[in-house]
Symmetry: C2
Subunit: 308 residues, 2 copies
Amino acid sequence: MKKVKLRVPATVANLVCGFDILGMAIHEPYDEMEIKLLDTPEIIIRHIDSFGLPQEPSKNVAGVVLQKIQEHLKLTKGFEAVIRKHIKPGSGLGSSAASAAGAAFGANILLKNILSKDEIIHFAMFGEELASGVRHADNIAPCIYGGITLVKSTQPIDIIPLNAPDLFVTAVHPQVEVKTSDSRQILKKSITLKSAVEQWGNIAGLVAGIQKNDFPLIGRSLNDVIIEPIRSILIPKFDEVKLKSLDLGALGGGISGSGPSIFMLAEKRDIAEKIAHLMKSVYDEIGIESYTYVSKINPTGIKIIEEA
Amino acid sequence: MKKVKLRVPATVANLVCGFDILGMAIHEPYDEMEIKLLDTPEIIIRHIDSFGLPQEPSKNVAGVVLQKIQEHLKLTKGFEAVIRKHIKPGSGLGSSAASAAGAAFGANILLKNILSKDEIIHFAMFGEELASGVRHADNIAPCIYGGITLVKSTQPIDIIPLNAPDLFVTAVHPQVEVKTSDSRQILKKSITLKSAVEQWGNIAGLVAGIQKNDFPLIGRSLNDVIIEPIRSILIPKFDEVKLKSLDLGALGGGISGSGPSIFMLAEKRDIAEKIAHLMKSVYDEIGIESYTYVSKINPTGIKIIEEA
């Protein structure tokens, strides 16, 4: 095999109370990636609609991942990646994770599945390191495994795939910039034990709800008393979007990753669509352009579209 | 029906990383309780082997629960409770919860199941309030529901019954006194966000492991970076008991409730028995008397032995 075409999905990290441990794959938006095995040892990155992303391999998220794999396996062959990004960089919807996970996943197929899932995640994390300075797997893990994943540890890699409840996800990406570094810096370094206990009650409830497919339990567990009250300050109209979404029947939701995107879960497509409409109108009103996406939780993650 | 005889099990609260939210019913030790409906409005408590517990209803854990039920339902009838305690007060094995839960559960049967499970828990919590000053349900919930329970909230009561994994529990009760108030006071009021994130990764892993019956995952999630390092100081030989139990094949374990009892989980009875033997010998060596108990996780909680 010389070439593989992939559909690489967006992901929602944190999942409200699951700060730094939970992530979820969705269907929309997604990137298209084509990875080719080359007879020469070059790494070539070609972006279509690059959003200003660098194409030099060592400065490109997919590029460093492919370099690391090539290096580690002492390959004499190279890779070319053609990337059509639809997940916008800086959206909080796992754009860098998609490029990194897609590169590692695609290379592995071309190398006849030489890598385990955990090894794919290991290499993809070099892409996250380039993008944000942190080798985290919150978005990479659900991109690779699909559904909802728990990142119990990255050193060693310990990923627990959870269920993919049959729920709709509405995401809105308002066109404002929230730097991951800013949204991390404003967090308090210490918290009260009381709020931590409340938070881990919610996390335990969320994981139980996911595993039991208990949607009301998922809804009443999607509460974050620690991160959201602080980070949401950086996202215009966050409270209004959240409250109005709940009024429309959303089970719950919150900040996607470190923002500025916001996601909401709902049991029915028509509610999810109404939420998307509401989100757009809230941002239209204050003159902020926004993109909305409605899709189901994606149970399988990256999809192979074509192999040749 | 005039009389009901119950077997009311011990319970392990906290479950290491699940501080203040998780609890688990076991089979051994257990209390025997006989609750009778009286034609007169008296509340009578009779203890066999009372361990010095007061028998005056308003000062007795079972007594206040029966009083509250009588009051709330405006009953003209009364109750008599005959209690043979085997779960030692102050053991950290849910002794007060057993008396409280048994009283509420038994009264409800005599009143033809007039109360819901959550109402039984509501009334039983008055017993915990008398015993410790806190209306918590960490021990009452697993006593009533069986298995492992998540107390997501007590106001309103929101209890999530989890699975009862097919595991053995070894508990040791060393004869030292640890006051619940002391073990609560030495906790720090604030913790680092970093340690909280680690803790909730463990809690999420533990709940996922319980629901998936993934025993290795349960084992590697039974880690507490916040409470145990502080509270264990109050329990002689805690570290030695824990490390040697793990060496013998325990999946994991820690302080039961606020101590001084320690519990360990194991997949096989022979390992659980070896752990009991080890625990006893550690305390024998330093001249501290101890009691050990080996039983499975109790999937059903309080058991009706006789109705008449």
